[in-house]
Subunit: 180 residues, 2 copies
């Protein structure tokens, strides 16, 4: 039996982005387990495409030791009261200076379900036009990378970021089957 209830939760550290602690669970058979946990506000990711291009970014990912990680645009849900789709629209404008007339939720997933509650909702963004009046406080180290759809395999080969791989593999499959 896999159902359980949480019987204890202790925070050991609170940072600006993450909170860390230990939780205790009891299963319906009475056994108990302890889990280390990283609380995360969640995030959105965006797969922005037009007829010939998928719009990617490169940025340093210091904790992973990467200097120019190839990724789709994304951002944390760190604005109070902002819905995920709104956050995705804001991030698309801030990171690559675009707005999209068509939005479709592709998938939501946990990045590391064993130790974190981080959940990313991924959107397809189409019918792109330049975003007006972008007031970005984004990191100036994010580089915009228009990537030809004909070279999608090379992006998948280079990418080491889980959320971006999910989006790019989904895209490759849709393109191959003529559904995009």
């Amino acid at each position: 039996m896999s159902s359980y209830e949480r019987i204890g939760s202790e925070v050991v550290w609170t940072g600006k982005m993450i909170t860390v602690g230990v939780e205790r669970f009891r299963y319906v058979d009475g056994k108990q387990a302890t889990r280390e946990k990283v609380w995360h506000p969640g995030a959105v990711a965006i797969l922005p495409i037009d007829s010939e291009t998928v719009w990617l970014t490169r940025q340093p990912r210091e904790v992973a030791g990467l200097t120019r990680s190839l990724e789709i645009p994304a951002g944390k849900l760190d604005v109070e009261g902002e819905a995920p789709l709104q956050a995705a629209q804001r991030e698309l404008a801030e990171e690559i200076g675009m707005q999209a007339a068509r939005w479709q939720e592709l998938k939501a997933f946990y990045t590391s379900a064993g130790f974190s509650d981080e959940r990313i909702t991924c959107y397809l963004a189409q019918e792109l036009t330049p975003a007006p009046d972008v007031h970005s406080d984004e990191d100036e180290r994010i580089e915009i990378v228009p990537w030809p759809l004909t070279e999608l395999d090379a992006a998948i080969g280079e990418c080491e970021d889980a959320k971006s791989l999910i989006a790019l593999l989904w895209l490759a499959r849709q393109l191959a089957s003529g559904q995009l």
Copy 2:
């Protein structure tokens, strides 16, 4: 410029699986940034397939609030001196009671490059046979789920686990193009 050097690293908490802290980086332009970090030992994941089936698991993922998360077999790199491929072979035996004659590394990726160094190496395992003498200390809550390849889209639809989505989307694409 995206290159940087680490100029400080402070551990704030050490658990059994993860270590948490804050690191400071200096970019080549002289600016500095602070990053919250979760150190993780890394992991392996296995996509075990035969001609008709992909072998999945269901298990509780307490910190994500999931009771029966549909995933590919996986495990942490928590045995001293064990290479990733060895770990994958051990986990395949422990979690689904199988061994494989053919192994291929598919992809390695970071699950949450913004705050963690967790890196998962994913393998394709083929030519499966029952593993002899499995001495498993695995969680008895891991359920083995043989999933028909003809129903792969349903698995992708249900799955909420990033590493498993990467493997299943890769598999769907290979099957569609006749490469498996």
